[in-house]
């Protein structure tokens, strides 16, 4: 009943449309695949942490001339170690002067009791174990009350910070604690996620391709074992050991994505 009226134009149109439709579908899918691969690669590329030790600012509690500075920048100190000594001779002379008249003079007694509170402050000790950073005074210079004497890094409460992409963040979020590896010490340590902040632009020192205009997450980790933090130097770099790295990264679909990337995006 049907006429076998073969029209070349029809055949041509049909074939063209099939091919065209197929190509469009292929283009859309490969775009989608490329996005997925990039996101996956950003997840599997290494994430580096920067050691961020807690800053301690040491201020002078009294005024006076700096007598001795017992430490240098970068030196490790233990809690209670004497780091700076201020000249107390003027103070002591004043105290002994007041002591002589203290019995008869009420105002002298009052001043004396106030001064005695400062007696210990001429020797400045390290409040915690740590490393000296900047020294803001020099021997022989005069410091006022509350003037900054030096800053140091505490050995406790060491943090690790890193900037990651949202994809990487969701990967890291899934694991509870992570492993970080120190190249220098050739050792792995455990760390826990402590805080997250959304940053606008990350520091450009990471190892992955940065997507343009993306928001980054600033992650803050702490060592599971708090004492571990003492070993590290400020701004030292540690690498996140990604659990996914244990498996092989190059999946067959990665190779496929690379082919498409090359064909379509010219990379």
């Amino acid at each position: 009943m049907s006429q076998k009226n073969f029209s070349f134009r029809e055949w041509l149109f049909n074939t063209f449309m099939v091919v065209f439709v197929f190509l469009i579908a292929l283009m859309i899918s490969s775009q989608a695949l490329t996005r997925k691969v990039n996101s996956f690669q950003s997840i599997t590329s290494p994430v580096f942490f920067e050691v961020d030790k807690k800053d301690l600012v040491i201020n002078a509690q009294v005024e006076g001339r700096v007598k001795t500075i017992n430490v240098t920048s970068g030196q490790s100190v233990k809690a209670g170690e004497l780091i700076v000594e201020l000249d107390s001779t003027a103070f002591e002379r004043r105290v002994s002067l007041l002591e002589e008249v203290a019995d008869q003079n009420l105002s002298a007694r009052t001043e004396l009791s106030v001064l005695r509170e400062d007696a210990d402050s001429f020797k400045i000790y390290a409040p915690q174990d740590g490393v000296i950073d900047d020294i803001n005074i020099s021997e022989g210079s005069y410091v006022n009350r509350e003037a900054r004497v030096l800053t140091m890094f505490s050995d406790t409460d060491t943090r690790l910070t890193s900037f990651v992409t949202p994809d990487q963040y969701s990967e890291i979020q899934n694991s509870g604690s992570v492993n970080v590896y120190s190249d220098r010490l050739e050792q792995t340590f455990k760390a826990k996620l402590d805080g997250v902040r959304q940053a606008t632009r990350g520091a450009g020192n990471q190892g992955f391709n940065q997507n343009t205009g993306d928001s980054f997450f600033e992650l803050i980790f702490r060592f599971e074992n708090a004492e571990d933090g003492a070993i590290f130097i400020e701004k030292e770099s540690l690498q996140l050991i990604n659990p996914a790295e244990e498996e092989s990264i190059t999946r067959p679909s990665d190779r496929l994505a690379r082919i498409w990337n090359a064909l379509i995006l010219g990379r």
Partner: protein, 494 residues
């Protein structure tokens, strides 16, 4: 002479189940999906909302219709008590039977014409040949059938009938498509209803015999719901509309509205105009002619696009809800019938959404806890599948699902042609007069979506972020692949 078999009316348990369950299921799902807190990607969410709203509205329309049909039995009985005075010998009115022809094969026309000529009750039989064929003319002359042709073919079938009306003057006339073979009792059954002087039209159902064909089988179940529930229910509100064939008209009524409506969907438009002018119409649920369903993709899609255009034309250009010429329930019925064709939008959305998720990881809803969504969605999903079972007591056929899915394209084409006001030619269902009409013009979206679905399954499982979301979306995509490929391989192209 029998009064005709009219389906007896009891409420089957499953119909009751459908009526009771539907609102609950829909509200249950709506409570979840209309809650903006559950939204993820806002753009996709709004599309999802639009699609679901349309789907729910269509379901609601069906529910209302079934409810009316179930509760109000009257309409099945009302028309039994007709007086057969019109058939008594002293009172026989003049009746013309028009067979509209445009390019159908002679073998088809012959069968219909002879059957029409041989129907009981005195009448004139005319073949209205828009194809102006010599063979047809010769056949008519040899078989005692009158023949009318015209010089120009403007306004397709509507113009054809109006032309015949200008050359005839019977009190009543029937329209029968060239491929619908009428039963001998056709006029015997329909004519008595015209006793009511306010009645302008009596419509009987379309029934197809070629159900082995994939497409025909696919539309059969939907047609059955339409003719078994929707049409009888419309009788209550005097909103039965013509489907273009197997119908009897009162001449004076048609004259009053200025002839058959000059429109590509002249059937629904003519009914609409009759209603606006206060005429009554009824649907008689008895098969009185047996026809041929469209059996090729192209003829089927053209028909569906024509129906969609007609229905949506009324919706968009006539705004049935605010039309003063109609009564409230008529307005509601026209609204329901025309909005049905918007269902192309949700179908397309449901096909595309899971693909978007698998490819681009974006979804309309926050499905962090898959079970919550599943609990809300599954009953709703199954309701759609259960409709054929609940209303027709038949298993939902694959051909039905596949055809319904594929229909999104002609429905969307209909929608666009109404919005952008384009004209199309009316082509008869079995006409072989297809000039160069490449199949890809009609199935490119299906091929495209099929290929894209398959590719999305591959890409989607590259490092999936959420396993269960990917799983469910893959199931969905898999179903669509199955239905699309079934349609494309089993339906005839030409």
């Amino acid at each position: 002479m029998k009064a005709g078999k009219i389906f007896a009316k009891k409420i089957p348990a499953v119909t009751f189940l459908f009526l009771a369950a539907s609102p609950l299921v829909v509200i249950w799902y709506a409570a979840y999906i209309f809650n903006v807190n559950n939204a993820d990607n806002l753009f996709l969410y709004s599309i999802q909302i639009i699609a679901d709203s349309i789907a729910m509205m269509v379901l609601l329309g069906l529910w209302l219709t079934v409810l009316i049909d179930t509760l109000i039995e009257r309409h099945h009985r009302t028309f039994e008590r007709v007086n057969f005075s019109l058939l008594s010998d002293d009172n026989v009115p003049t009746v013309d039977v028009f067979i509209t022809v445009y390019g159908e094969p002679l073998s088809v026309i012959e069968k219909t014409a002879r059957a029409a000529r041989d129907m009981r009750v005195l009448h004139n039989t005319y073949v209205l040949d828009d194809g102006n064929s010599f063979e047809v003319r010769y056949f008519c002359e040899q078989n005692g059938i009158k023949y009318i042709a015209r010089e120009k073919n403007d306004h397709a079938k509507a113009g054809n009938v109006n032309n015949a009306l200008s050359e005839t003057d019977a009190e009543f006339f029937a329209i029968i498509d060239a491929d619908h073979v009428p039963e001998p009792e056709f006029l015997e059954v329909l004519l008595p209803y015209m006793e009511d002087k306010n009645l302008a039209m009596v419509q009987s159902p379309q029934h197809y015999r070629n159900i082995e064909n994939f497409i025909a089988s696919g539309t059969a179940q939907a047609q059955e719901v339409f003719y078994r529930y929707v049409c009888p229910a419309k009788n209550i509100s005097n909103s039965a509309f013509s489907v273009g064939t197997n119908v009897l008209f009162r001449r004076s009524a048609i004259d009053q509205i200025g002839g058959i409506a000059l429109n590509n969907s002249e059937d629904i438009w003519t009914s609409f105009l009759l209603h606006k002018n206060g005429w009554r119409t009824i649907f008689v649920n008895q098969v009185l002619a047996i026809g041929v369903a469209p059996d090729t993709i192209i003829s089927f899609f053209k028909q569906q696009r024509r129906w969609a255009k007609g229905g949506l034309d009324i919706l968009i250009n006539e705004s049935p809800m605010r039309n003063e010429g109609l009564e409230l329930d008529q307005r509601i019925q026209y609204f329901i019938s025309s909005t049905f064709f918007l269902v192309g939008i949700p179908i397309l959305v449901y096909i595309v959404m899971p693909i978007i998720y698998l490819l681009f990881d974006e979804k309309p809803l926050l499905i962090t806890n898959g079970t919550v969504w599943l609990i809300h969605y599954l009953p709703y999903f199954f309701l759609y599948f259960a409709i054929t079972f609940l209303l027709l007591r038949q298993k939902l056929r694959i051909s039905t699902m596949a055809t319904a899915l594929a229909n999104f394209y002609p429905y969307l084409l209909g929608l666009f042609s109404v919005i952008f006001d384009t004209e199309q030619e009316w082509v008869a269902t079995t006409s072989k007069k297809n000039s160069v009409d490449p199949i890809m013009k009609w199935i490119w979206p299906h091929v495209f979506l099929l290929v894209l679905s398959i590719l999305s399954l591959i890409v989607g499982w590259y490092n999936p972020t959420e396993f269960w979301a990917s799983f469910f979306n893959s199931m969905w995509v898999g179903l669509n692949i199955f239905l699309l490929s079934t349609f494309l391989t089993r339906a005839r192209y030409k």
